[in-house]
Protein backbone atom coordinates (compact mmCIF):
# COMPACT_ATOMS: atom_id res chain seq x y z
CA UNK A 1 0.00 0.00 0.00
CA UNK A 2 2.68 2.41 1.05
CA UNK A 3 5.18 1.05 -1.39
CA UNK A 4 4.27 3.23 -4.41
CA UNK A 5 4.40 6.34 -2.23
CA UNK A 6 7.77 5.34 -0.83
CA UNK A 7 9.08 4.69 -4.34
CA UNK A 8 7.87 8.09 -5.51
CA UNK A 9 9.58 9.77 -2.58
CA UNK A 10 12.84 7.96 -3.28
CA UNK A 11 12.64 8.89 -6.97
CA UNK A 12 11.94 12.53 -6.12
CA UNK A 13 14.94 12.57 -3.78
CA UNK A 14 17.18 11.00 -6.41
CA UNK A 15 16.16 13.50 -9.10
CA UNK A 16 16.30 16.54 -6.85
CA UNK A 17 19.67 15.76 -5.27
CA UNK A 18 21.85 17.14 -8.13
CA UNK A 19 19.90 20.36 -8.03
CA UNK A 20 20.36 20.60 -4.28
CA UNK A 21 24.05 19.89 -4.65
CA UNK A 22 24.40 22.44 -7.40
CA UNK A 23 22.64 25.16 -5.47
CA UNK A 24 24.67 24.43 -2.38
CA UNK A 25 28.01 24.83 -4.09
CA UNK A 26 28.79 28.17 -5.54
CA UNK A 27 32.23 29.33 -6.45
CA UNK A 28 33.57 32.43 -4.72
CA UNK A 29 34.25 33.87 -8.12
CA UNK A 30 30.56 33.45 -9.02
CA UNK A 31 29.61 35.16 -5.75
CA UNK A 32 31.90 38.06 -6.57
CA UNK A 33 30.63 38.28 -10.14
CA UNK A 34 27.03 38.04 -9.01
CA UNK A 35 27.52 40.86 -6.52
CA UNK A 36 29.33 43.02 -9.05
CA UNK A 37 26.77 42.52 -11.78
CA UNK A 38 23.86 43.24 -9.43
CA UNK A 39 25.62 46.31 -8.02
CA UNK A 40 26.43 47.59 -11.52
CA UNK A 41 22.87 47.03 -12.76
CA UNK A 42 21.47 48.74 -9.68
CA UNK A 43 23.84 51.69 -10.14
CA UNK A 44 22.74 52.07 -13.76
CA UNK A 45 19.07 51.97 -12.78
CA UNK A 46 19.59 54.57 -10.05
CA UNK A 47 21.41 56.82 -12.47
CA UNK A 48 18.60 56.51 -15.01
CA UNK A 49 15.78 57.06 -12.50
CA UNK A 50 13.57 60.05 -13.26
CA UNK A 51 10.95 59.88 -10.52
CA UNK A 52 11.11 59.76 -6.74
CA UNK A 53 8.79 56.73 -6.81
CA UNK A 54 11.40 54.81 -8.83
CA UNK A 55 14.07 55.85 -6.38
CA UNK A 56 12.02 54.67 -3.41
CA UNK A 57 11.71 51.26 -5.01
CA UNK A 58 15.45 51.22 -5.79
CA UNK A 59 16.26 52.01 -2.17
CA UNK A 60 14.57 48.74 -1.19
CA UNK A 61 16.65 46.93 -3.77
CA UNK A 62 19.83 48.38 -2.28
CA UNK A 63 18.78 47.02 1.10
CA UNK A 64 18.09 43.61 -0.43
CA UNK A 65 21.47 43.57 -2.17
CA UNK A 66 23.25 44.40 1.05
CA UNK A 67 21.30 41.73 2.92
CA UNK A 68 22.00 39.09 0.26
CA UNK A 69 25.76 39.58 0.35
CA UNK A 70 26.32 40.57 3.96
CA UNK A 71 27.35 37.01 4.81
CA UNK A 72 30.17 37.28 2.24
CA UNK A 73 31.53 40.53 3.62
CA UNK A 74 34.92 39.12 4.64
CA UNK A 75 35.38 37.43 1.27
CA UNK A 76 34.15 40.42 -0.76
CA UNK A 77 36.41 42.79 1.16
CA UNK A 78 39.34 40.80 -0.24
CA UNK A 79 37.88 40.03 -3.63
CA UNK A 80 36.85 43.62 -4.39
CA UNK A 81 40.23 45.05 -3.37
CA UNK A 82 41.01 48.00 -3.36
CA UNK A 83 37.31 48.51 -2.59
CA UNK A 84 35.45 46.81 0.22
CA UNK A 85 31.92 45.53 0.42
CA UNK A 86 30.95 48.42 2.67
CA UNK A 87 32.61 51.06 0.48
CA UNK A 88 30.82 49.69 -2.59
CA UNK A 89 27.48 49.75 -0.78
CA UNK A 90 28.17 53.25 0.50
CA UNK A 91 28.95 54.36 -3.06
CA UNK A 92 25.58 53.02 -4.23
CA UNK A 93 23.75 54.69 -1.35
CA UNK A 94 25.54 58.01 -1.99
CA UNK A 95 24.60 57.84 -5.66
CA UNK A 96 21.00 57.15 -4.64
CA UNK A 97 21.00 60.20 -2.35
CA UNK A 98 22.51 62.46 -5.03
CA UNK A 99 20.07 61.20 -7.65
CA UNK A 100 17.17 61.82 -5.28
CA UNK A 101 18.21 65.46 -4.86
CA UNK A 102 18.64 65.83 -8.62
CA UNK A 103 15.30 64.20 -9.46
CA UNK A 104 13.57 66.32 -6.80
CA UNK A 105 15.04 69.46 -8.34
CA UNK A 106 14.04 68.42 -11.84
CA UNK A 107 10.49 67.61 -10.72
CA UNK A 108 10.07 71.00 -9.03
CA UNK A 109 11.58 72.69 -12.06
CA UNK A 110 9.26 70.67 -14.27
CA UNK A 111 6.32 72.34 -12.52
CA UNK A 112 7.82 75.77 -13.08
CA UNK A 113 8.63 74.89 -16.69
CA UNK A 114 5.00 73.90 -17.27
CA UNK A 115 3.90 77.25 -15.82
CA UNK A 116 6.29 79.11 -18.04
CA UNK A 117 5.35 77.27 -21.21
CA UNK A 118 2.08 79.20 -21.43
CA UNK A 119 3.91 82.50 -21.09
CA UNK A 120 6.43 81.45 -23.76
CA UNK A 121 3.64 80.57 -26.21
CA UNK A 122 1.95 83.93 -25.69
CA UNK A 123 5.22 85.80 -26.14
CA UNK A 124 6.19 83.98 -29.31
CA UNK A 125 2.72 84.63 -30.75
CA UNK A 126 3.00 88.34 -29.97
CA UNK A 127 6.48 88.47 -31.51
CA UNK A 128 5.19 86.87 -34.69
CA UNK A 129 2.33 89.38 -34.80
CA UNK A 130 4.82 92.20 -34.42
CA UNK A 131 6.79 90.99 -37.43
CA UNK A 132 3.73 91.52 -39.61
CA UNK A 133 3.21 94.95 -38.07
CA UNK A 134 6.83 95.83 -38.76
CA UNK A 135 6.48 94.96 -42.44
CA UNK A 136 3.36 97.16 -42.68
CA UNK A 137 5.16 100.08 -41.05
CA UNK A 138 8.11 99.84 -43.43
CA UNK A 139 5.67 99.95 -46.33
CA UNK A 140 4.04 103.05 -44.80
CA UNK A 141 7.45 104.63 -44.41
CA UNK A 142 8.05 104.38 -48.13
CA UNK A 143 4.59 105.77 -48.91
CA UNK A 144 4.95 108.74 -46.55
CA UNK A 145 8.33 109.92 -47.74
CA UNK A 146 6.87 113.14 -49.13
CA UNK A 147 4.61 113.85 -46.18
CA UNK A 148 6.83 114.96 -43.29
CA UNK A 149 4.17 114.78 -40.58
CA UNK A 150 3.02 111.33 -41.59
CA UNK A 151 6.63 110.20 -41.93
CA UNK A 152 7.43 111.34 -38.40
CA UNK A 153 4.37 109.54 -37.07
CA UNK A 154 5.29 106.33 -38.87
CA UNK A 155 8.85 106.57 -37.58
CA UNK A 156 7.59 107.00 -34.04
CA UNK A 157 5.35 103.96 -34.35
CA UNK A 158 8.14 101.94 -35.93
CA UNK A 159 10.49 102.86 -33.11
CA UNK A 160 7.88 101.89 -30.52
CA UNK A 161 7.29 98.64 -32.32
CA UNK A 162 11.00 97.81 -32.32
CA UNK A 163 11.26 98.52 -28.60
CA UNK A 164 8.22 96.40 -27.85
CA UNK A 165 9.73 93.64 -29.94
CA UNK A 166 12.94 93.81 -27.86
CA UNK A 167 11.04 93.71 -24.60
CA UNK A 168 9.01 90.71 -25.71
CA UNK A 169 12.13 88.98 -26.93
CA UNK A 170 13.96 89.30 -23.65
CA UNK A 171 10.81 88.47 -21.68
CA UNK A 172 10.82 85.27 -23.72
CA UNK A 173 14.49 84.70 -22.82
CA UNK A 174 13.72 85.19 -19.13
CA UNK A 175 10.77 82.82 -19.34
CA UNK A 176 12.92 80.14 -20.94
CA UNK A 177 15.82 80.40 -18.48
CA UNK A 178 13.94 81.23 -15.27
CA UNK A 179 12.87 77.67 -14.36
CA UNK A 180 16.50 76.49 -14.41
CA UNK A 181 17.77 78.94 -11.80
CA UNK A 182 21.08 80.75 -11.85
CA UNK A 183 23.58 77.92 -11.72
CA UNK A 184 23.42 76.85 -15.34
CA UNK A 185 26.91 75.36 -15.41
CA UNK A 186 25.94 72.55 -13.05
CA UNK A 187 22.64 71.61 -14.65
CA UNK A 188 22.04 67.95 -15.45
CA UNK A 189 21.95 66.43 -18.94
CA UNK A 190 18.18 66.06 -18.70
CA UNK A 191 17.76 69.76 -17.85
CA UNK A 192 20.21 70.78 -20.57
CA UNK A 193 18.28 68.77 -23.13
CA UNK A 194 14.98 70.32 -22.00
CA UNK A 195 16.47 73.81 -22.17
CA UNK A 196 18.00 73.26 -25.59
CA UNK A 197 14.71 71.85 -26.89
CA UNK A 198 12.82 74.93 -25.67
CA UNK A 199 15.43 77.26 -27.16
CA UNK A 200 15.42 75.50 -30.51
CA UNK A 201 11.64 75.16 -30.70
CA UNK A 202 11.31 78.89 -30.04
CA UNK A 203 14.12 79.81 -32.47
CA UNK A 204 15.66 81.88 -29.74
CA UNK A 205 19.01 82.77 -31.29
CA UNK A 206 17.47 83.28 -34.72
CA UNK A 207 14.90 85.64 -33.19
CA UNK A 208 17.61 87.66 -31.43
CA UNK A 209 19.57 87.84 -34.66
CA UNK A 210 16.52 88.92 -36.67
CA UNK A 211 15.53 91.58 -34.14
CA UNK A 212 19.05 93.01 -34.17
CA UNK A 213 18.90 92.96 -37.98
CA UNK A 214 15.53 94.82 -37.86
CA UNK A 215 17.01 97.50 -35.66
CA UNK A 216 19.93 97.92 -38.02
CA UNK A 217 17.63 98.00 -41.01
CA UNK A 218 15.63 100.78 -39.32
CA UNK A 219 18.73 103.00 -39.23
CA UNK A 220 18.97 102.93 -42.99
CA UNK A 221 15.24 103.21 -43.65
CA UNK A 222 15.05 107.00 -43.47
CA UNK A 223 16.99 110.09 -42.48
CA UNK A 224 16.77 110.47 -38.74
CA UNK A 225 16.68 113.73 -36.82
CA UNK A 226 18.71 114.77 -33.77
CA UNK A 227 16.07 113.90 -31.19
CA UNK A 228 15.56 110.45 -32.75
CA UNK A 229 19.05 109.36 -31.79
CA UNK A 230 18.90 109.49 -27.97
CA UNK A 231 16.26 106.73 -27.71
CA UNK A 232 18.10 104.77 -30.41
CA UNK A 233 21.34 104.95 -28.43
CA UNK A 234 19.55 103.87 -25.26
CA UNK A 235 17.81 101.12 -27.16
CA UNK A 236 21.10 99.75 -28.49
CA UNK A 237 22.73 99.85 -25.05
CA UNK A 238 19.83 97.96 -23.44
CA UNK A 239 19.74 95.39 -26.21
CA UNK A 240 23.48 94.87 -26.05
CA UNK A 241 23.40 94.46 -22.25
CA UNK A 242 20.59 91.94 -22.39
CA UNK A 243 22.23 90.02 -25.18
CA UNK A 244 25.48 89.87 -23.20
CA UNK A 245 23.57 88.29 -20.32
CA UNK A 246 21.92 85.76 -22.62
CA UNK A 247 25.12 84.83 -24.46
CA UNK A 248 26.89 84.26 -21.13
CA UNK A 249 24.12 81.86 -20.14
CA UNK A 250 24.37 80.04 -23.45
CA UNK A 251 28.14 79.79 -23.13
CA UNK A 252 27.87 78.50 -19.54
CA UNK A 253 25.52 75.71 -20.59
CA UNK A 254 27.45 74.98 -23.80
CA UNK A 255 30.74 74.64 -21.98
CA UNK A 256 29.15 72.46 -19.32
CA UNK A 257 27.68 70.22 -22.00
CA UNK A 258 31.00 69.85 -23.86
CA UNK A 259 29.24 67.77 -26.41
CA UNK A 260 29.83 67.79 -30.15
CA UNK A 261 27.03 69.53 -32.00
CA UNK A 262 26.93 67.19 -34.91
CA UNK A 263 23.20 66.98 -35.46
CA UNK A 264 22.94 70.46 -36.78
CA UNK A 265 20.34 71.85 -39.10
CA UNK A 266 20.40 75.12 -40.89
CA UNK A 267 17.89 77.88 -40.75
CA UNK A 268 18.14 81.07 -42.72
CA UNK A 269 17.51 84.42 -41.14
CA UNK A 270 15.52 87.22 -42.72
CA UNK A 271 18.63 89.09 -43.79
CA UNK A 272 20.00 86.05 -45.55
CA UNK A 273 22.68 85.26 -42.99
CA UNK A 274 22.82 81.66 -41.95
CA UNK A 275 22.14 80.81 -38.34
CA UNK A 276 23.04 77.29 -37.35
CA UNK A 277 20.48 75.47 -35.26
CA UNK A 278 22.14 72.60 -33.43
CA UNK A 279 21.35 70.46 -30.41
CA UNK A 280 22.35 73.43 -28.28
CA UNK A 281 23.15 76.95 -29.48
CA UNK A 282 26.88 77.00 -29.99
CA UNK A 283 29.43 79.63 -29.16
CA UNK A 284 29.77 80.19 -32.94
CA UNK A 285 26.11 81.17 -33.14
CA UNK A 286 26.47 83.67 -30.33
CA UNK A 287 29.49 85.09 -32.15
CA UNK A 288 27.31 85.67 -35.22
CA UNK A 289 24.95 87.76 -33.12
CA UNK A 290 27.91 89.55 -31.49
CA UNK A 291 29.18 90.45 -34.92
CA UNK A 292 25.78 91.81 -36.01
CA UNK A 293 25.54 93.89 -32.84
CA UNK A 294 28.98 95.35 -33.58
CA UNK A 295 27.74 96.29 -37.04
CA UNK A 296 24.57 97.85 -35.57
CA UNK A 297 26.65 99.92 -33.15
CA UNK A 298 29.00 101.11 -35.89
CA UNK A 299 26.16 102.10 -38.18
CA UNK A 300 24.29 103.90 -35.40
CA UNK A 301 27.35 105.97 -34.46
CA UNK A 302 28.27 106.63 -38.04
CA UNK A 303 24.74 107.95 -38.76
CA UNK A 304 24.82 110.01 -35.59
CA UNK A 305 28.12 111.80 -36.24
CA UNK A 306 27.50 112.31 -39.93
CA UNK A 307 24.05 113.84 -39.17
CA UNK A 308 25.67 116.26 -36.70
CA UNK A 309 28.32 117.16 -39.24
CA UNK A 310 25.58 118.01 -41.71
CA UNK A 311 24.10 120.48 -39.20
CA UNK A 312 27.31 122.52 -39.52
CA UNK A 313 28.15 121.99 -43.17
CA UNK A 314 24.61 122.90 -44.31
CA UNK A 315 25.23 126.32 -42.73
CA UNK A 316 28.62 126.76 -44.34
CA UNK A 317 30.51 126.12 -41.14
CA UNK A 318 33.49 124.00 -42.06
CA UNK A 319 34.67 121.88 -39.16
CA UNK A 320 37.55 119.45 -39.17
CA UNK A 321 35.95 116.11 -40.18
CA UNK A 322 35.03 113.82 -37.28
CA UNK A 323 33.51 110.40 -36.83
CA UNK A 324 33.48 109.95 -33.07
CA UNK A 325 33.19 111.83 -29.79
CA UNK A 326 36.87 112.76 -29.33
CA UNK A 327 36.98 113.90 -32.99
CA UNK A 328 33.87 116.04 -32.55
CA UNK A 329 35.21 117.59 -29.35
CA UNK A 330 38.56 118.39 -30.94
CA UNK A 331 36.87 119.82 -34.02
CA UNK A 332 34.64 122.20 -32.02
CA UNK A 333 37.57 123.35 -29.87
CA UNK A 334 39.65 124.03 -32.97
CA UNK A 335 36.83 126.00 -34.58
CA UNK A 336 36.20 128.08 -31.44
CA UNK A 337 39.91 128.83 -31.23
CA UNK A 338 39.97 129.89 -34.88
CA UNK A 339 37.02 132.24 -34.28
CA UNK A 340 38.84 133.69 -31.32
CA UNK A 341 41.97 134.26 -33.32
CA UNK A 342 40.28 135.65 -36.42
CA UNK A 343 37.81 137.87 -34.57
CA UNK A 344 35.07 136.80 -37.03
CA UNK A 345 31.47 137.14 -36.00
CA UNK A 346 30.52 133.94 -34.14
CA UNK A 347 26.79 134.62 -34.09
CA UNK A 348 25.90 132.12 -36.78
CA UNK A 349 27.95 129.39 -35.09
CA UNK A 350 26.89 130.15 -31.56
CA UNK A 351 23.30 131.24 -31.88
CA UNK A 352 22.02 129.47 -34.92
CA UNK A 353 23.92 126.23 -34.97
CA UNK A 354 25.06 125.53 -31.43
CA UNK A 355 22.18 126.96 -29.48
CA UNK A 356 19.52 126.57 -32.15
CA UNK A 357 20.35 123.08 -33.34
CA UNK A 358 22.97 121.26 -31.31
CA UNK A 359 21.76 122.23 -27.85
CA UNK A 360 18.09 121.83 -28.75
CA UNK A 361 18.15 118.76 -30.94
CA UNK A 362 21.35 116.88 -30.21
CA UNK A 363 22.13 117.46 -26.54
CA UNK A 364 20.27 114.32 -25.36
CA UNK A 365 22.25 112.16 -27.74
CA UNK A 366 25.56 113.86 -27.13
CA UNK A 367 25.31 113.65 -23.33
CA UNK A 368 24.79 109.85 -23.39
CA UNK A 369 27.58 107.78 -21.88
CA UNK A 370 29.72 106.39 -24.63
CA UNK A 371 29.14 109.50 -26.74
CA UNK A 372 30.44 112.84 -25.43
CA UNK A 373 29.10 112.37 -21.92
CA UNK A 374 27.62 115.09 -19.73
CA UNK A 375 30.92 116.60 -18.56
CA UNK A 376 32.49 116.97 -21.96
CA UNK A 377 29.27 118.39 -23.41
CA UNK A 378 29.10 120.93 -20.56
CA UNK A 379 32.74 121.91 -21.18
CA UNK A 380 32.11 122.45 -24.91
CA UNK A 381 28.90 124.36 -24.21
CA UNK A 382 30.78 126.63 -21.82
CA UNK A 383 33.53 127.18 -24.36
CA UNK A 384 31.07 128.15 -27.07
CA UNK A 385 29.03 130.35 -24.70
CA UNK A 386 32.17 132.22 -23.63
CA UNK A 387 32.84 132.95 -27.28
CA UNK A 388 29.47 134.69 -27.50
CA UNK A 389 29.86 136.42 -24.13
CA UNK A 390 33.13 137.98 -25.25
CA UNK A 391 31.33 139.70 -28.10
CA UNK A 392 28.39 140.72 -25.95
CA UNK A 393 30.68 142.25 -23.36
CA UNK A 394 32.38 144.44 -25.99
CA UNK A 395 29.06 145.71 -27.21
CA UNK A 396 27.92 146.19 -23.66
CA UNK A 397 30.95 148.38 -22.97
CA UNK A 398 30.24 150.36 -26.13
CA UNK A 399 26.62 150.85 -25.16
CA UNK A 400 27.63 151.99 -21.67
CA UNK A 401 30.10 154.41 -23.20
CA UNK A 402 27.52 155.86 -25.58
CA UNK A 403 24.97 156.04 -22.78
CA UNK A 404 27.51 157.83 -20.60
CA UNK A 405 28.24 160.38 -23.31
CA UNK A 406 24.52 160.99 -23.86
CA UNK A 407 23.98 161.42 -20.11
CA UNK A 408 26.86 163.88 -19.90
CA UNK A 409 25.57 165.91 -22.83
CA UNK A 410 22.09 165.98 -21.34
CA UNK A 411 23.47 166.93 -17.96
CA UNK A 412 25.51 169.71 -19.53
CA UNK A 413 22.51 170.97 -21.40
CA UNK A 414 19.98 170.67 -18.58
CA UNK A 415 22.03 171.29 -15.48
CA UNK A 416 23.79 174.36 -16.83
CA UNK A 417 22.34 177.36 -15.09
CA UNK A 418 21.18 180.02 -17.47
CA UNK A 419 23.16 183.16 -16.97
CA UNK A 420 21.28 185.90 -15.18
CA UNK A 421 20.55 188.82 -17.40
CA UNK A 422 22.87 191.65 -16.73
CA UNK A 423 21.47 194.31 -14.52
CA UNK A 424 20.91 197.48 -16.22
Amino acid sequence: MHRPILSALVLALVFSSPALTASAQESDFATKRNFESRATALTARIDAAITTAQLDSLKNEIDVLELDFEQHTAFLDKALYPETFQSRMKGIRDLHARTRVRVGTIQSQGTRIAEMEGAIQTLTYRLDTLSAQRDRLYAELVQNKTNTMALRETLRRLQNMLQTQDKLMFALVDSIFMPYGKDLATMSDVQRDALSTTMISNNLITRVYNIAADNMHFLGATELQGKDFAPLLDHYRQFEGRWRGLSEKIRAVSIAAQSPHADSALSRSRGGTIIQASRFPTVAQTLQVDSLLGEWNTRLRMNFWSAIEREFSSRQIQLTPFSDAPGFSASIRTYVQSLHNSGDDPTLFVEEVWKGRIDKEWRDGLTREGMLGKEEYAALDKLVSELARTRIDMKFVLYIGITGVVVLVLWWLLARKPKAPAKA
Binding site: P18, T21, A22, E26, S27, D28, F29, K32, K78
Partner: protein
Protein backbone atom coordinates in the same frame (compact mmCIF):
# COMPACT_ATOMS: atom_id res chain seq x y z
CA UNK B 1 97.46 13.43 14.79
CA UNK B 2 95.92 16.84 14.66
CA UNK B 3 97.11 19.11 17.36
CA UNK B 4 94.44 20.20 19.82
CA UNK B 5 95.09 23.87 19.17
CA UNK B 6 94.54 23.50 15.43
CA UNK B 7 91.31 21.58 16.07
CA UNK B 8 90.02 24.34 18.33
CA UNK B 9 90.89 26.96 15.71
CA UNK B 10 89.03 25.07 12.94
CA UNK B 11 85.96 24.62 15.15
CA UNK B 12 86.00 28.31 16.04
CA UNK B 13 86.17 29.36 12.37
CA UNK B 14 83.31 27.02 11.44
CA UNK B 15 81.20 28.26 14.35
CA UNK B 16 81.70 31.83 13.26
CA UNK B 17 81.07 31.35 9.53
CA UNK B 18 78.10 28.93 9.59
CA UNK B 19 75.41 31.41 10.75
CA UNK B 20 76.26 33.78 7.92
CA UNK B 21 75.68 30.98 5.40
CA UNK B 22 72.09 30.25 6.55
CA UNK B 23 69.33 32.24 4.63
CA UNK B 24 66.80 34.55 6.25
CA UNK B 25 63.37 32.92 6.44
CA UNK B 26 60.01 34.63 7.01
CA UNK B 27 57.70 32.02 8.44
CA UNK B 28 53.90 31.77 8.10
CA UNK B 29 53.71 33.60 4.79
CA UNK B 30 50.26 33.43 3.17
CA UNK B 31 50.14 33.36 -0.63
CA UNK B 32 46.43 32.55 -0.92
CA UNK B 33 44.31 34.33 -3.47
CA UNK B 34 40.93 35.24 -2.00
CA UNK B 35 39.24 34.41 -5.27
CA UNK B 36 40.20 32.29 -8.25
CA UNK B 37 40.99 33.84 -11.61
CA UNK B 38 39.25 32.56 -14.72
CA UNK B 39 41.93 33.12 -17.37
CA UNK B 40 41.25 32.91 -21.07
CA UNK B 41 43.90 31.23 -23.18
CA UNK B 42 45.13 33.67 -25.79
CA UNK B 43 46.06 33.01 -29.39
CA UNK B 44 49.68 32.70 -28.30
CA UNK B 45 48.68 29.85 -25.96
CA UNK B 46 49.33 31.82 -22.81
CA UNK B 47 47.23 33.06 -19.91
CA UNK B 48 47.71 36.25 -17.97
CA UNK B 49 46.26 37.50 -14.73
CA UNK B 50 46.47 41.25 -14.48
CA UNK B 51 45.45 41.55 -10.84
CA UNK B 52 48.09 39.14 -9.52
CA UNK B 53 50.59 39.93 -12.28
CA UNK B 54 51.20 36.37 -13.35
CA UNK B 55 51.45 34.94 -16.87
CA UNK B 56 52.51 31.57 -18.22
CA UNK B 57 52.29 29.43 -21.36
CA UNK B 58 49.81 26.55 -21.34
CA UNK B 59 50.91 24.47 -24.33
CA UNK B 60 52.73 21.87 -22.15
CA UNK B 61 49.62 21.66 -19.93
CA UNK B 62 47.41 21.06 -22.98
CA UNK B 63 49.85 18.45 -24.17
CA UNK B 64 49.79 16.69 -20.79
CA UNK B 65 45.99 16.73 -20.42
CA UNK B 66 44.77 16.37 -23.99
CA UNK B 67 47.89 15.27 -25.88
CA UNK B 68 47.34 18.28 -28.10
CA UNK B 69 49.29 21.49 -27.50
CA UNK B 70 46.58 23.66 -29.06
CA UNK B 71 43.64 22.04 -27.24
CA UNK B 72 43.29 24.92 -24.82
CA UNK B 73 43.23 27.79 -27.33
CA UNK B 74 40.30 30.08 -26.56
CA UNK B 75 39.18 28.12 -23.49
CA UNK B 76 39.08 29.45 -19.93
CA UNK B 77 41.29 28.00 -17.22
CA UNK B 78 40.60 28.33 -13.52
CA UNK B 79 43.65 29.28 -11.53
CA UNK B 80 44.03 29.84 -7.81
CA UNK B 81 46.95 29.96 -5.42
CA UNK B 82 46.76 28.36 -1.99
CA UNK B 83 48.20 29.74 1.21
CA UNK B 84 51.47 27.80 0.69
CA UNK B 85 52.02 29.40 -2.69
CA UNK B 86 51.11 26.46 -4.98
CA UNK B 87 49.16 27.23 -8.13
CA UNK B 88 46.12 25.05 -8.82
CA UNK B 89 45.06 24.89 -12.46
CA UNK B 90 42.15 23.14 -14.11
CA UNK B 91 39.43 23.78 -16.65
CA UNK B 92 36.39 22.35 -18.43
CA UNK B 93 36.93 18.81 -19.78
CA UNK B 94 39.98 18.40 -17.51
CA UNK B 95 40.27 15.12 -15.63
CA UNK B 96 42.98 16.50 -13.38
CA UNK B 97 43.81 19.44 -11.22
CA UNK B 98 47.42 20.42 -11.87
CA UNK B 99 49.41 21.80 -9.00
CA UNK B 100 52.51 23.84 -9.66
CA UNK B 101 55.19 25.25 -7.43
CA UNK B 102 56.78 28.51 -8.48
CA UNK B 103 60.46 28.50 -9.32
CA UNK B 104 62.74 31.10 -10.86
CA UNK B 105 60.98 31.92 -14.14
CA UNK B 106 58.94 28.71 -14.15
CA UNK B 107 56.06 26.77 -12.69
CA UNK B 108 57.05 23.23 -11.83
CA UNK B 109 54.40 20.56 -11.54
CA UNK B 110 54.30 19.14 -8.05
CA UNK B 111 51.17 17.01 -8.49
CA UNK B 112 48.34 16.16 -10.83
CA UNK B 113 45.25 15.05 -8.93
CA UNK B 114 42.70 13.01 -10.79
CA UNK B 115 39.32 14.57 -10.01
CA UNK B 116 37.13 13.16 -12.77
CA UNK B 117 37.04 10.18 -15.05
CA UNK B 118 34.93 11.86 -17.72
CA UNK B 119 36.17 15.42 -17.44
CA UNK B 120 34.95 18.36 -15.38
CA UNK B 121 31.92 20.32 -16.64
CA UNK B 122 32.39 23.82 -15.28
CA UNK B 123 34.90 23.71 -12.47
CA UNK B 124 35.71 26.48 -10.03
CA UNK B 125 38.13 26.88 -7.13
CA UNK B 126 37.49 28.44 -3.76
CA UNK B 127 40.08 29.28 -1.16
CA UNK B 128 39.19 27.37 2.01
CA UNK B 129 42.36 27.60 4.10
CA UNK B 130 44.25 25.35 4.54
CA UNK B 131 42.60 23.77 1.45
CA UNK B 132 41.50 24.60 -2.01
CA UNK B 133 37.91 23.66 -2.71
CA UNK B 134 37.04 22.35 -6.14
CA UNK B 135 33.42 22.69 -7.14
CA UNK B 136 31.83 21.41 -10.28
CA UNK B 137 28.26 21.28 -11.47
CA UNK B 138 26.59 17.99 -10.60
CA UNK B 139 29.21 16.71 -8.19
CA UNK B 140 30.17 17.19 -4.59
CA UNK B 141 32.84 19.70 -3.71
CA UNK B 142 36.29 18.34 -2.99
CA UNK B 143 38.99 19.68 -0.71
CA UNK B 144 42.50 19.62 -2.13
CA UNK B 145 45.95 20.09 -0.67
CA UNK B 146 49.08 20.60 -2.71
CA UNK B 147 49.52 16.83 -2.95
CA UNK B 148 46.21 15.11 -2.39
CA UNK B 149 42.45 15.10 -2.23
CA UNK B 150 41.51 15.11 1.42
CA UNK B 151 37.74 15.11 1.21
CA UNK B 152 35.21 14.09 -1.40
CA UNK B 153 37.49 11.51 -2.97
CA UNK B 154 35.75 9.42 -5.56
Amino acid sequence: MVPARLLIAIIAVIALTLPSCSSLTLEKADFGWPVESPLKVSATNTVEDVRYAVAFPVAPLAMAEFADSSALLGSTLRVIRNHEGFYFVTGPRFKHVYIFAPRAGALVQSAALEVSTTGLASPAFNLRPPYIELVDAGSNPRLLTSSDIVEGKK
